[in-house]
């Protein structure tokens, strides 16, 4: 079974190398097949990695011929294995969905480039998850930024170009800040490997208190821009709402999450629980997360387009994750990671369902989508289950993360914050329920609509169904998943 140790690196290599075969292919159908095939192989490899980890525990993997402080190193633990599995599974399902619909939003001659970018994007996200080397993570952040800009602009419309430029400028600023944070850490400790930086920091943190504060702040703000922490989220609604449906699903479900995982690694792995607790940075994350939870929902209520509503909802949901990180106890951190999993599956399903509605009806305004439930009952039904999870109905993952986040905030002694969680849930209901209610009910809404006249075929809806089933399974098996995350955290 020692071959299994190579699988994480093999996943990244397969995705990167196969990406460049795509522009050489003549027919789009082969490109799609190759993309789906390589993503499926990565999924199988990630499942093997997870099985290997559950049997043998976490391990460090040496990349190349040099040992740890000099060469690059991967750290593959429980959390990394779960994340790899989540990323590849969600990406496979999204790609499967996009096989049927991508030509409607992307020009024929751009399809091979689109799948090239998706493969590179997933490869670099997996790299960011696995890598134990800060500078290597930074390189993967840059690759992610460029590739995700590419999959937004591929639609080639005016609004896409504007949104992409905004995203590109803000993200470059973010990665610049992260690089400065890494430079400070390197200056103090003389290492780029996270394990070694942690060892050095434990020795010198009393001397370099202010510098460490600055480094933590720079990394937090930089990654905050990348993953849409509340006041830095301005690029997100434009970028996510104008992109093709499958791109928005990938961007919202996966691209936002990998930098958050990196932030968790930096704050709790590089600095460590004992040191980071004394810093003011956790309070900042907590406050911004709480504000994001409420303001994201408030802004979502005011939106008129369905994809913008879902995009603003991402801001609110990312707020929950930052809230969990900011609480500074083990339960909060566990729930932050659990919410990453739950939100990735739910939000990708919501974006794909919304994309299906827009694609079939040709309308994207909420006011024009009334009565869609009669024309597309199954699609809106799947959308409804996803929305219920976002609002927080028991069994579904949204409820579980909200419940345990409340418990975690009681543990941390912050009783006021439970009010914020409650309020955010109510606000979530306020913008998701009108879409569903107006879709299914109302005499005038349904007038003139023919039952199932616009429905997608079952074949095309299958990936969407599997995402929803996966979401329910995550909710039902939440205890086991949380136990696994706890094993990974220790």
């Amino acid at each position: 079974m020692t071959y299994a140790k190579n699988f994480p690196l093999l996943m990244i290599l397969i995705l990167f190398i196969s990406a460049f075969i795509m522009p050489l292919m003549k027919k789009n159908i082969f490109v799609k097949g190759l993309s789906l095939f390589t993503m499926g192989i990565s999924m199988i490899l990630s499942i093997y990695t997870w099985i290997f980890i559950t049997k043998n525990g976490a391990y460090f993997y040496r990349v190349g011929h040099w040992d740890a402080p000099w060469g690059i190193e991967f750290k593959i633990g429980m959390i990394e294995a779960i994340m790899a599995m989540l990323f590849t599974m969600v990406a496979t399902l999204i790609l499967w969905y996009s096989v049927y619909s991508v030509e409607k939003e992307v020009k024929d001659n751009k399809v091979s480039f689109y799948y090239l970018l998706v493969n590179i994007l997933l490869g670099s996200l997996l790299g960011m998850v696995f890598s134990n080397d800060l500078f290597n993570c930074f390189v993967f952040i840059e690759v992610t930024t460029l590739a995700s800009c590419g999959i937004i602009v591929v639609k080639d419309k005016k609004e896409n170009i504007a949104a992409t430029l905004k995203y590109l400028i803000l993200s470059s600023l973010g990665s610049g800040l992260v690089l400065m944070g890494i430079a400070f850490l390197y200056d103090i400790t003389g290492n780029l490997n996270m394990t070694y930086i942690h060892k050095e920091i434990m020795n010198v943190h009393a001397v370099y208190k202010n510098t460490l504060h600055i480094a933590a702040g720079l990394c937090t703000v930089g990654i905050g821009i990348k993953s849409a922490m509340f006041p830095l989220h301005v690029w997100l609604p434009d970028a996510h709402s104008s992109a093709p449906a499958s791109s928005s699903a990938i961007l919202s479900a996966l691209v936002l999450k990998a930098p958050i995982l990196l932030l968790i690694k930096i704050l709790y792995g590089v600095f460590g629980f004992e040191i980071i607790r004394e810093f003011a940075i956790l309070n900042l994350i907590l406050i911004l997360g709480t504000m994001g939870m409420i303001m994201g929902s408030v802004l979502a209520i005011k939106q008129k387009e369905i994809k913008r509503v879902i995009a603003y909802s991402s801001v609110a949901q990312v707020g929950y994750i930052f809230f969990g990180i900011g609480l500074g106890n083990k339960l909060g951190l566990t729930m932050a990671i659990f919410h990453i999993i739950g939100h990735a599956v739910t939000k990708s399903a919501l974006f794909l369902a919304a994309g299906a509605m827009i694609e079939k009806s040709g309308k994207k305004k909420l006011s024009e989508l009334k009565g869609i439930g009669k024309e597309m009952p199954y699609t809106l039904g799947l959308f409804t289950i996803g929305a219920l999870s976002m609002v927080g109905i028991p069994i579904l993952p949204g409820f579980i993360s909200k419940w345990y986040l409340s418990l975690a905030s009681i543990d941390a002694g912050e009783f006021m914050l439970i009010g914020a969680i409650l309020m955010s849930s109510l606000l979530n209901a306020l913008y998701y329920f009108p879409i569903i209610v107006n879709g299914y009910f109302g005499e005038e809404n349904l007038a003139g609509k023919i039952y199932k006249s616009n429905e997608k075929s079952i074949k095309e809806l299958l990936p969407l169904m599997m995402l929803i089933i996966g979401m329910i399974a995550i909710g039902a098996g939440s205890n086991k998943i949380m136990d696994m995350i706890r094993i990974g955290l220790i």
């Binding site: 290599l13 460049f20 050489l24 040496r62 190349g64």
Partner: protein
């Protein structure tokens, strides 16, 4: 540009630029330079050709498809070579590696020479693509 002097001079000068670029690429592991530096020099020769001989004639010689094939091939070779090196090194497998050779020879330095060549091709094509996209908006 319809200028006979320019055309005749560039006929002489372009091969020299290309030879210098190839020299920098092939001596990347022995002297300053390497794939990136040599690739940009090669790329400038392509750019000069494009500027002097206009779009149509350049397209006959350097078609988009041909360049794209070169670039993707080089990227795939780079990925496979480096990936092989990473994996054999990472899991301590004793599979055959490229020989290190005698220091100072061109055929030495293990993976450096083939990787430099791949980088050189990628960079020269990319530089040319960038130029033509900014110059005329199409390749």
């Amino acid at each position: 540009m319809h200028n006979t002097i320019l055309k005749e001079i560039s006929k002489i000068i372009i091969p020299f630029i290309q030879i210098f670029g190839l020299y920098v690429i092939f001596h990347g592991h022995l002297s300053p330079g390497g794939g990136f530096a040599g690739g940009t020099i090669l790329g400038t020769s392509l750019i000069l050709y494009r500027m002097v001989y206009e779009r149509e004639r350049t397209r006959e010689k350097l078609s988009y498809k041909k360049l794209m094939t070169c670039m993707c091939g080089a990227l795939i070779i780079y990925g496979i070579l480096k990936g092989y090196s990473f994996i054999t090194g990472g899991s301590h497998i004793d599979l055959p590696q490229l020989p290190l050779g005698k220091p100072g020879n061109i055929l030495s330095g293990g993976y450096l020479l083939p990787l430099n060549m791949a980088v050189g091709i990628i960079v020269s094509v990319t530089v040319y693509f960038f130029f033509s996209l900014f110059y005329e908006g199409e390749i």
